[in-house]
């Protein structure tokens, strides 16, 4: 009888099998907010279906992760600004105000601004050890806001977000990084720069994650020396990390030399796109090296810090009489309790520790007087300002905005077809009798083009004028008949030069 009843019921899955399932369910939940963005964009007022919200969200997480450092996170406005080009590319026809609105919407939804926790919650179910099915809440954040210096608010990506992004939930940081480096070297030696760049970016995410892990361990050390095992665990970790940094540093310098070579050769063989990619790759690897150097200096300071902290914390004279250990006896046990029970303790502490307030006692007569008294004139504002006597300044510009636009349009010359000034002047005269003066001025100005400024600002085109000795034949102007043309500048090459100089 009992045998049949057992066999008729399917066996409950054990807790061990469920644990793995729960982990995967949580990992899956982390992607939900991204899918959710694409689902909810239809509910927005306006036609937003052209935007790929999940893509924008991932890009935003990318930007925040890359901005993260030891000390600070990413600036809110900066992330919006970095998202804008991608938003604009998705819907070039829309105006920039809408692009910004979309970028902000995506970022705010990643923070989940509407909720009090500014986080997300997913519900999943597991079988407990006793075979009872329990639904549980999983709370997580993708981007969190942290206080920065001077009261500002910075953004940091959470571990969940980095894991969703890199897609390696349970991998060892060190080994994953080594794999990425090896892949990078192979890719570069085969000249596949697009893939190499991807691998380099992944390596950089790993570096950031590694630094973050280390930062937290060191934080714990400073708060309580005895909370961290300084006899073996931490020294081991530090020497391991130093080895790791030294190793990565050698690797990345080798890669850097390699890519520089690739970049300089690339231009002649494979075109400017290849060269630009190589230049970007140089930037990424340099950033990696910078981060590793930073990590190393932190590591070297850890030892002296520990000794100083130990001196201060462990060798302090013992107390004359003991008080309550507020942390050990109250705060720590309270944090472990369930909210319902812990609230009784915190309520008791609040009632005893908040101090007292004298209640206001109001007489009806005073209140009426108070309410009916006209407000006293505010003397401290000073004397009344005299009405300023404003005179409209006449607009004495020689040329109007429209004329300037017209002239610029005329001088928008294709790079392979420079023109004579005389022809330009004739064209300008046909449009507007005043225009030739402006064109002539611009042409003369272009005789000494602002090369340095263009170089610094990374401009792609530059107007120039050259005198080849020909006399200008014109009813209004005299002098040389300049050759006016547009020079195309190698923006990527200049960018690479600039970073190398720096």
């Amino acid at each position: 009888m009992t045998g049949t009843s057992v066999s008729s019921r399917p066996p409950a899955p054990g807790p061990a099998a469920d644990e793995g399932l729960a982990r995967r369910l949580r990992a899956l939940a982390c992607t939900a907010p991204l899918h959710d963005l694409d689902t909810r964009k239809a509910n927005l007022a306006g036609e937003y279906s052209t935007y790929e919200m999940a893509e924008l969200a991932l890009a935003a997480i990318d930007h925040v992760t890359l901005q993260m450092d030891f000390d600070t996170g990413a600036d809110h406005e900066q992330i919006v600004a970095r998202l804008l080009p991608r938003v604009a590319a998705q819907a070039p026809a829309r105006d920039s105000a809408e692009h910004e609105r979309v970028a902000r919407w995506v970022l705010e939804n990643l923070l989940n601004v509407g909720s009090v926790d500014r986080g997300f919650r997913a519900v999943y179910g597991t079988f407990g050890p006793d075979g009872v099915y329990v639904r549980r809440d999983y709370d997580f954040k993708l981007i969190e806001e942290v206080p920065g210096p001077g009261g500002s608010v910075y953004l940091r990506t959470t571990d969940e977000a980095v894991n969703v992004l890199v897609g390696a939930l349970d991998t060892d940081v060190t080994s994953a990084q080594i794999a990425a480096e090896v892949k990078l070297e192979v890719l570069i030696s085969r000249g596949r720069l697009a893939d190499a760049q991807l691998a380099a970016e992944q390596a950089r995410y790993r570096t950031v994650q590694y630094a973050e892990t280390l930062r937290r361990t060191l934080e714990a050390t400073r708060r309580d020396v005895r909370a961290v095992d300084w006899l073996s665990a931490v020294p081991d970790m530090i020497s391991e990390a130093l080895d790791h940094v030294a190793d990565r540093y050698r690797h990345e310098n080798a890669i850097l030399t390699n890519i520089r070579k690739a970049r300089d050769e690339a231009a002649s063989e494979r075109g400017p796109d290849h060269k630009r990619r190589a230049a970007e790759l140089v930037d990424i690897v340099k950033d990696c090296i910078r981060r590793h150097t930073q990590l190393q200096s932190r590591l070297l300071e850890a030892g002296p810090l520990f000794r100083a902290e130990q001196d201060r914390q462990a060798f302090a004279p013992p107390a004359a009489r003991a008080g309550t250990d507020l942390y050990g006896q109250l705060l720590a046990p309270v944090l472990e309790l369930e909210v319902e029970r812990a609230s009784r303790v915190t309520d008791a502490f609040f009632a005893g520790g908040a101090g007292l307030r004298t209640p206001g006692a109001v007489r009806m007569g005073d209140l009426v007087d108070l309410l009916l008294t006209p407000p006293a004139p505010r003397e401290h504002l000073g004397a009344e300002m005299p009405e300023p006597d404003l005179v409209a300044t006449p607009d004495d510009s020689r040329f109007s905005e429209a004329q300037m636009e017209s002239a610029s349009e005329l001088l928008e010359l294709p790079a392979d077809a420079p023109r004579r000034l005389s022809g330009l002047l004739a064209d300008a005269r046909r449009r507007d009798p005043e225009l030739p003066y402006l064109v002539a001025l611009l042409a003369v100005h272009a005789a000494s083009p602002p090369v340095g400024t263009a170089y610094r600002q990374g401009e792609e085109r530059l107007l120039f004028a050259v005198d080849d000795g020909t006399q200008l034949d014109d009813p209004e102007f005299g002098g040389a008949d300049l050759i006016v043309g547009t020079a195309l500048l190698d923006a990527a090459g200049m960018a690479a030069d600039r970073t190398e100089a720096a």
Partner: protein, 324 residues
């Protein structure tokens, strides 16, 4: 209080003939005009007070209690306050009277000294008591908010007096910052999280029972700060809740603001130490014991503070950034 003062002024000369034998009372009655014109109460210690309590004594005692209710008043800067404190110390009868006035008003006398003044705490049902519902409106509706507001007060005290001996040492002055308190509690939460993970425990709470969620999880999932439209601190964030707590404590005369770094820096006053040591700490501990949790301590600290107690400053010879 003006009523009391007028009474004191008029009652003094009338009361003195009651004990003509005392030379001290003669000096008091010799200067009735001085004590009536100035707010300074009668300064001469009169043995007659041991036998009879005059309305003037009652007025002075009540005056002392009323000065104690001004938490920011510093005794050393107020002649009248200093004088009344001296009288409290020197005349046991006057001290008993002042204690009785305080008790009648629903106040508990924590200490009467020149450093703390008359340190008073409100009884549970007293009109002076602060109720959580008045303190934070959301706290009545939301149990998590109620817990976080209470926890913020506990965490501020734990940061201000990190070691047991700091709480016991009368001369100790604690220093805290808003961001420091937040990162400190977060650190504690993270350790509990790591421990739960190491034990293979699933800490995600059951959906139907939010009250059974562990306290550290509620804190950890609340965001620490947040951008708002008007550039103010997000009230529901943990730094917002802590800032509210320290602001309130500063108004209670328990903390003094010393700067704006790291969300606001504060130092403790003698009153705060008394309040935490004699009222809050023991009350919370009693509640905890009632819940069946018995925290055992050998009198040594389980928590060790950073050197300068400035949670966000770097140690001088260690450039380690411990705070994000």
């Amino acid at each position: 209080m003006t009523d009391y003062e007028q009474e004191a002024g008029t009652a003094e000369p009338a009361a003195s003939p009651a004990s003509p034998a005392s030379p001290a009372s003669q000096t008091a009655s010799a200067t009735p005009a001085a004590s009536a014109s100035s707010a300074v109460p009668s300064s001469a210690p009169s043995p007659k007070a041991a036998q009879h309590v005059t309305p003037a004594d009652a007025a002075d005692a009540a005056r002392l209690v009323s000065l104690g209710l001004h938490p920011k008043l510093i005794p050393a800067r107020d002649v009248e306050y200093t004088e009344l404190l001296r009288r409290y110390r020197d005349e046991p009868a006057f001290a008993r009277l002042a204690d009785a006035v305080a008790t009648g008003l629903g106040l508990v006398v924590l200490e009467v000294s020149t450093r703390a003044g008359m340190a008073l705490a409100a009884d549970e049902d007293s009109v002076f008591a602060v109720r959580m519902g008045d303190y934070a409106r959301r706290a009545t509706a939301d149990s998590a908010d109620r817990f976080l507001h209470g926890l913020a007060h506990l965490a501020v005290a734990a940061m201000a007096f990190p070691r047991p001996e700091d709480l016991a040492d009368d001369g100790y002055i604690g220093r805290i910052t808003v961001n420091g308190v937040d990162s400190f509690v977060r650190q504690a939460c993270r350790r509990l999280d790591e421990r739960a993970e190491a034990e293979g425990e699933n800490t995600d709470p059951a959906t139907e029972a939010p009250g059974l969620e562990a306290g550290w999880r509620v804190y950890a999932r609340r965001s620490s700060t947040g951008a708002t439209k008007d550039a103010r601190r997000l009230a529901g964030s943990t730094t917002g809740i802590i800032a509210k707590a320290v602001g309130f404590l500063a108004d209670s005369g328990f903390l003094q603001r010393t700067g704006d770094d790291a969300g606001g820096t504060y130092r403790t006053t003698a009153r705060y130490q008394l309040q935490v040591r004699d009222m809050a700490g023991s009350a919370a501990m009693a509640e905890l014991l009632e819940l069946g949790v018995v925290p055992v301590s050998d009198g040594t600290a389980s928590l060790l503070p950073p050197q300068d107690a400035e949670g966000l400053e770097l140690a001088p010879d260690a450039g380690l950034p411990f705070h994000s």
